[in-house]
């Protein structure tokens, strides 16, 4: 069992967390062409190695930013999305 660091609750079991999305996507505004909209909805960089991801801690309900390696599963950092914005 891996421990993930929730920025609000501290280290908790991985089963308490849910992956939400890749970080860094921005919703296109205004009159958006089909291709740009489908890229926003579906395309992923899906990196092999260091990744920036949005996760949710299901028990406290907060979403946060986690920097994680998708190959080694080592977590580098986690931080509140409020601090980032």
């Amino acid at each position: 069992m891996q421990l993930f660091p929730c920025p609000f609750c501290g280290p908790r079991a991985e089963t308490e967390f849910s992956f939400a999305a890749e970080a860094g996507k921005t919703r296109p505004e205004g009159d958006v062409p089909d291709l740009a909209w489908s890229r926003y909805l579906y395309s992923e960089t899906n990196p092999r190695g260091p990744a920036r991801e949005i996760w949710s801690h299901l028990t406290c309900g907060e979403f946060f930013l986690m920097e994680r390696d998708t190959l080694t599963h080592v977590v580098k950092s986690s931080s509140s999305l409020r601090a980032a914005s």
Binding site: S18, T45, N46, P47, E53, T70, L71, H73
Partner: protein, 417 residues
Amino acid sequence: MTRRYSAWSLFAEGLRGHVGWAPAWTSPKLKAHYDYVIVGGGGHGLATAYYLTKVHGAKSVAVIEKGWIGGGNTGRNTVTIRSNYFFPESVALYDFALRAYERLSAELNYNIMFSQRGIVTVAHSDAELEIQARLVNAMRLNGADAELLTRAQVLAKVPLLNVSDQARYPVFGGVWQGRAGVARHDAVAWSYARAASAAGADIVQNCEVKGFVVEGGACVGVETAQGTVHAGAVGLAVAGHSSVLASAAGFDLPVRSYALQAMVSEPVKPCLDTILLYPGTGTYLNQSDKGELVIGGGLDRMPSYAQRGNPPMQETIISGLLEMFPAFGQLKLLRQWAGVCDVTPDSSPLIGPSPLPGLYLNCGWGTGGFKAIPAGGYLLAHLLARGQHHEISRPFDLDRFRTGRLIDEAAGSGIPH
């Protein structure tokens, strides 16, 4: 040298101490130019090479593999082959593969040990049975075989199931697809490799493709660990690593990579002669010819390129197994492994031209690529040779994410993906 496999050649070789067998495929040096280059030497890549030579008469084909052939997801699955899907597009695709598997041993002169022992998908309530009746009707309308089973019929096929009053997931009935089966995974990769090699395709192992040669906005070759190779057309069949190579080619895919784990128990006497899927626990299993129970479940719940399974999902799968079969409580596990699956938003594959002209995709099979190997290979070969879709692959083009014509099998057939 003995090249053709038969009872007679086995007997004759036995008399001479088995010294006359020819290698099943050759290991030529990578050339500087091919008409067709296929990246990835799994089942899909090797099948593509075979169909390019057989159906399209291609003379100059290379399959370039980072590790050893069949060492990725082709060697990491639970070998189930079935076509119990909901949408007509999916049944056309997966039943094409199933029909090809039925002929494959004879066609390739290689015993892939395809055993059509059928699959039972259990329903745990009246409501689930209603949905299964809808799936059975859809499958039949689309030309695949399917049958609705009563509770008694399910228990006759799988007598060891937990039917006590305390069972968390009671058995109400199920769906039966009798033509579904299992095959020897290495034999599938090796039989295609042998047939492609015999027809003149070069199979180059231990050679990683690192990037693409782009001229005038089109892909005209690949950069490999053994130098640059120019090609008339390039096919990508790298499953869980599709995004890595797409990124090298300069585009993103609607694909996320997850680890899917499986495990086998110690060998036991015959006790399960079908494939069984329990939607309640998410656990599925079959018994191998050696007697091991081959057990699988859902994806690990985090994006991952690690070819190993996480303990929480392993615990879910095993606890599911014991809920289904209390009698297996004393079994020991022999080994556990995982493959990296390329999962799309609608659980259907991506087959078609990529955003980079000259480069064609065969990916997005998620957790179900093994069963589709003959179809994926046939359709990618068609794309490479003709530059356009076969009618079966057309609905699975990348453009469905722009047009919105998704083929959502996760919602349609209720099959875990």
